[in-house]
């Protein structure tokens, strides 16, 4: 009985998330669901499971189901562009949330900010801590994935400005804590003299910190992450991670569904809802817990 | 014969070694056209190896082969086939999911309009024509895996013949077929040699050999012993050449005291296989079960042994009713079943002689934490290797590298080690040499002397008549005859075996 699809009175919004095995995306979902309930809209949620191709298929399914609007949380900046094209061609409004697509101009609105900024923010904080001088390593997300690409661009945009900061090593740990832990253990035993490690997400930063702690170098190496997951916030509070980068996931989710609701009702909406990144350090931690 | 048969193939000083074994040592044989040349020798003498060298499966270490006077070396089976040498292998190797015709023509499929597209019609027609010509009745469209072992063997033979090769090698082709089919085969072989071609034949069955051979070569331990015209040698002489000593009685039945009933079977039925079978077997007795291929004998004993438990009927051991739901139950009740197909159900070809022999016995070798008592295991296995004179470089050799007959001995050893009270043997001497055969028969006798029971299935009339105290005959799943030793008569037994078939044809 719950499947009476698109009854005329209720607005239905299709949402495709990039990957629901990512804690951060779950927070977007939380915000989105809460807001949707408040607005009384029906949401059809799909998990892209880390595949642009899947997200395109899901948007195709939304078109078949004749949803009133689509919220697209793209996994792949380029690969998800056809999804947007298809929705536009079918006359369904699209709100893009949290991550970019290359043809963003076709969307009705973008909610969030660019990953490049997060990469810049963490690199800047580390550069400042190091006083513009020192050896760093970067732990990347999975090679070729959009967030990895953009955060890397951001990292390098900043580090490139400091001739005295050397990137001694870069390696992927596929967003995984255990892989980062193994990687940093190996780096440290190789005698690499590091002053800071940039994790492109918190899971990897936490793994890196664990290796550093075990090697007794927690006072020598700064570790920073991105996402502000609860575990990372706790770690910042304990003085372990020096900082993490917070993105208002709940705010993004809520904002996206709200814009989708409005556009489905024919209201006019802004084409950009900027929800900026915020650097979380011990000082401002209280706001995020 | 001699005058119009010229030499087609000479094998000269062929040597071939495997790790730990010198399988062939300077073997030289000449093969002639229009001649059936039989190779004989004990298990592991090197017969199959020599033929595999000839058909391009193994490469000889040294020696020369001259085909029609020209030196040849076959690097692959394909090149041997191209030179007109076809072989039926000792071990069946059907491609079960292809049709009969596809199996026959694999590697030289007839095509449509010179395209690489199979001409199925043509293929089936060719197969049919060949089957008709040589007198076998099998639908070429059937799936190979659905055939019985005997039918598969006939298909393999037909396949080899269809190459129309100059030299046709048959390595123990009759080990899986019945007398009726053997006579078909012999007709085929005669026709074949008439066409100015040579046949090389390998078998352990004496009567057959004298029936079909023109010349006989004996190998022993990889060495050439001698070639003789079949008409010039006696069975005794051959055996002596093979085993290097005199071997007198082939079926040395000893008289034993026949005791109580140890196994009683009542109204056993399994639909489609056999129905209403009742019999009893006594201590100290060898009970033979005769019948034609496919009569349901194997199914019956497998059923008793718990492999496919019967649908109805009851079993009594030593007078007590028992339920046997699995081979494990049967083994626990002191039964052993030596199955007919060693490759399929008898051996783990990926493991060593030792591990194959001890697998059933392991349970009794277990000490604390079910750890295997290795010392006892090794000594019992070694004892059996000696007792059955299993020809193997060591107990740790993989069984797959043993000759066919020695593999059969490993199966026998495995079941002897489990020390059963009721020993069931399904074609136990298939593919084993005269010496080993005598050995197996001696073992059966020893067994009964100890007051144990033996049930034996055999398709060889002399064997089953020679060894049994009593004989049951099965035909199409029904008991059609029951003979005391004093009443044994080959014709009567055969009549019972064909009971149903005759009724149908009348």
């Amino acid at each position: 009985g719950a499947q009476d699809e698109t009854s005329n009175d209720q607005i239905t919004i299709g949402v495709t998330y990039q990957n629901m095995q990512n804690e951060f995306i779950l927070s977007i979902q939380d915000g989105l669901r809460a807001k949707a309930e408040e607005l009384g809209v029906k949401v059809i949620e799909q998990d892209g499971q880390g595949s642009a191709e899947k997200q395109i298929s899901q948007v195709e399914n939304f078109i078949i189901q004749e949803v009133d609007a689509i919220v697209l949380n793209p996994f792949d900046k380029d690969g998800c562009a056809p999804a947007l094209d298809k929705a536009v061609a079918a006359g369904i409004p699209v709100i893009v949330v949290n991550a970019m697509v290359s043809n963003i101009e076709k969307a009705n609105a973008y909610v969030g900010s660019e990953d490049v900024v997060a990469g810049e923010m963490e690199a800047q904080y580390i550069a400042d801590l190091l006083g513009g001088k020192g050896n760093v390593a970067i732990i990347h997300g999975p090679n070729g994935h959009s967030a990895e690409i953009q955060r890397t661009i951001g990292n390098k945009n900043v580090l490139g400005k400091y001739p005295d900061i050397k990137i001694l090593a870069e390696q992927t740990a596929n967003w995984s804590r255990i892989e980062a832990l193994n990687l940093v253990e190996n780096w440290l035993t190789s005698g690499m003299e590091l002053n800071a490690i940039l994790g492109q997400n918190d899971e990897m930063a936490l793994g890196a910190y664990k290796a550093i702690e075990a090697a007794g170098k927690q006072n020598d190496i700064f570790v920073i992450g991105i996402d502000a997951i609860p575990d990372a916030l706790q770690s910042v509070e304990d003085g372990k991670l020096v900082a993490t980068v917070f993105q208002d996931a709940r705010g993004q989710g809520a904002g996206a569904v709200e814009l989708a609701y409005k556009v489905a009702n024919g209201e006019s909406i802004p084409d950009l809802l900027n929800i900026p990144f915020i650097l979380v350090t011990k000082e401002n931690l209280a706001e995020f817990k | 014969m001699e005058n119009n048969s010229e030499t087609i193939l000479e094998m000269d000083n062929i040597c071939k070694s495997f790790p730990g074994v010198k399988a062939l040592n300077n073997v030289s044989i000449k093969f002639k056209k229009r001649t059936v040349h039989t190779l004989m020798g004990e298990n592991g003498a090197g017969k199959s190896t020599l033929m595999k060298v000839l058909s391009g499966i193994y490469q000889m270490d040294s020696g020369t082969m001259r085909l029609r006077g020209e030196d040849v070396i076959f690097q692959t089976p394909a090149s041997a086939l191209n030179h007109g040498i076809a072989m039926v292998h000792q071990e069946l190797s059907p491609i079960v999911d292809l049709s009969v015709a596809e199996n026959m023509f694999v590697g030289r499929e007839p095509v449509l309009f010179k395209l690489p597209v199979i001409n199925r019609k043509e293929m089936n027609k060719k197969a049919n024509a060949l089957f008709e010509e040589i007198g076998i009745k099998i639908d070429p469209k059937r799936r190979m895996g659905d055939l019985s072992v005997a039918e598969m063997q006939m298909v393999e033979i037909a396949k080899a013949i269809s190459y129309d090769a100059e030299i046709l090698i048959l390595d123990e082709p009759t080990s899986a077929i019945s007398d009726a089919e053997v006579s078909v085969l012999f007709k085929i072989i005669r026709n074949y040699t008439q066409k100015n071609k040579a046949v090389i034949y390998i078998s352990h069955k004496m009567e057959e050999i004298f029936q079909i051979s023109d010349e006989i070569t004996v190998l022993r331990d990889g060495e050439f012993i001698g070639t003789n015209p079949a008409s010039d040698v006696s069975e005794k002489e051959l055996i002596k050449m093979m085993v290097g000593r005199n071997l007198n009685e082939i079926f040395p039945k000893t008289e034993t005291k026949i005791g109580d009933v140890s196994l009683r079977v009542e109204n056993l039925s399994l639909s489609g296989k056999f129905s209403n079978i009742s019999f009893e077997a006594r201590r100290g007795e060898i009970l033979g079960i005769a019948g034609l291929m496919g009569a349901g004998r194997s199914e019956l004993v497998e059923s008793i042994f718990g492999v496919h438990p019967p649908e109805s009927g009851s079993l009594y051991i030593n007078g007590k009713e028992v339920k046997i739901r699995s081979p494990e139950d049967a083994i626990d009740l002191g039964m052993a079943l030596i199955t007919e197909d060693r490759k399929l159900t008898g051996l783990n070809l990926k493991d060593s002689v030792k591990n194959n022999v001890s697998i059933v016995f392991l349970k009794k070798l277990a000490r604390a934490f079910s750890v295997v008592d290795k010392g006892r295991e090794v000594s019992s296995v070694e004892e059996l290797i000696k007792k059955l004179s299993i020809k193997t470089p060591s107990r740790n050799t993989n069984v797959s590298s043993l000759s066919g007959g020695n593999q059969q001995k490993v199966v026998i050893a495995k079941w002897l080690l489990s020390d059963p009270n009721i020993l069931i043997l399904d074609e136990p001497t298939r593919g084993i040499d005269v010496g080993a055969k005598a050995e197996v028969h001696k073992l059966m006798n020893q067994f009964t002397e100890e007051g144990k029971t033996v049930i034996m299935i055999s398709s060889e009339m002399p064997e089953i008549m020679g060894m049994s105290d009593r004989l049951l005959v099965l035909s199409e799943g029904k008991l059609t005859g029951h003979f005391q030793r004093s009443e044994f008569d080959q014709e009567k037994i055969l009549a019972c075996a064909m009971n149903h078939i005759e009724k149908e044809s009348n």
Binding site: Q3, E5, M20, I44, E45, Q46, D47, Q49, A52, E53, I56, S57, Q58, E60, N61, I63, I64, Q65, D76, K77, D78, G79, C80, A81, P82, S102, P142, N143, G144, H145, E148, I149 | S55, I57, T76, P77, A78, L81, N82, M87, H89, S93, P94, I95, V96, D97, L98, E102, V106, G107, R108, E109, V111, P116, V117, I118
Partner: protein, 321 residues
């Protein structure tokens, strides 16, 4: 139900019968989904399913050849990625002819498949190891080739392959259909096809019959490689970018489609028809669960259970005959 279907499909038709348990399971799933979600049987959705199945479907066809010979190809996902980035890199607007672009993708797939074949057939490596190695190597090659960045800015012509329509039907569906028809024919009616079965069914016997088994084996990996190349082209043109991380873990879905379709992992047995049903079943389940808006966590539980259940049902049906 079983009895009725047995009557409808004439029992004497053995071939059909062998597959009918699976077909029955497949139809059952479709029926349930149609009832639960009215969108499911809309023609547009059925086309969606076909298009969404096409990539895995193409890979599964190649995998069928490999598995019938008793092998396995774990590298299909990575080869898909290599072909995707190579073809894409030539597919910028106005640079190369579309024919050249397509051949580059197919060619690179064929080449990597050939290397797989060499290692397996000539160097006699276990297929699992050789293709596992290739899986890692090819992924690395795709990353090195692109420096880890997706190849973008592709021509409209190229995009037509994955995104175009002919007579209202998506182009990938035609491509998939063509692949299926040709493979079906090859496997069933050609000398090569029968030899694939012979090699998988009993390699020794095939060899003794004079078949160059190593050639057959090399060829099946080349076919699988080439079809992976094709999948890479379709995929990259569908997402309009050649991503070096594309195709990750595609091998599992492809193998699953083949095995669900009744092909035995030990070789010698299997059909393209079964594989198509297997791939469609996976596609239908993915699509249906999305339509029903089943939470993605439960989706996995449901999907796994359906696969097990479908194969169980197939076994039941077959064992009863």
């Amino acid at each position: 139900m079983t009895a009725i279907l047995k009557n409808i499909f004439n029992i004497s038709n053995k071939k059909l019968l062998k597959d009918y348990g699976l077909v029955l399971a497949f139809m059952g799933i479709c029926l349930v989904l149609s009832i639960l979600s009215p969108s499911f049987i809309k023609p547009a959705n059925l086309l969606n399913i076909l298009r969404q199945t096409s990539i895995n479907g193409i890979l599964a066809v190649g995998m069928t050849f490999v598995i019938i010979t008793g092998g396995i190809d774990l590298s299909v996902g990575s080869i898909t990625a290599v072909a995707a980035v190579v073809a894409s890199s030539f597919a910028h607007p106005g640079e190369h002819s579309i024919v050249f672009v397509i051949f580059s993708g197919l060619g690179v797939g064929l080449l990597l498949g050939f290397i797989n074949g060499l290692f397996i057939a000539k160097a006699k490596l276990a297929p699992f190891i050789a293709t596992l190695g290739m899986m890692t190597i090819a992924r690395g090659m795709a990353l090195v080739y692109t420096s880890g960045r997706p190849v973008i800015n592709l021509s409209d012509q190229y995009n037509y392959i994955g995104g175009g329509y002919i007579g209202g039907i998506p182009v990938p569906v035609y491509i998939y259909g063509l692949v299926v028809i040709i493979s079906f024919f090859v496997l069933r009616f050609t000398v090569f096809g029968r030899r694939v079965y012979a090699v998988g069914g009993n390699e020794l016997s095939a060899k003794y019959s004079g078949i160059k088994t190593s050639n057959i084996k090399t060829l099946v990996y080349m076919i699988s490689g080439m079809l992976s190349g094709l999948a890479g082209i379709v995929l990259s043109s569908r997402v309009m970018s050649g991503n070096p991380s594309a195709g990750t873990s595609y091998e599992l879905d492809a193998i699953a489609a083949v095995v669900i379709g009744g092909t035995s992992m030990t070789g010698g047995v299997g059909t393209i028809f079964g594989t198509v049903i297997g791939a469609l079943m996976i596609g239908v389940i993915n699509n249906g669960l999305d339509l029903l808006n089943v939470s993605s966590y439960f989706q996995q539980i449901v999907k796994g259970s359906i696969i097990i259940f479908a194969v169980l049902m197939d076994k039941q049906a077959n064992s009863k005959d």
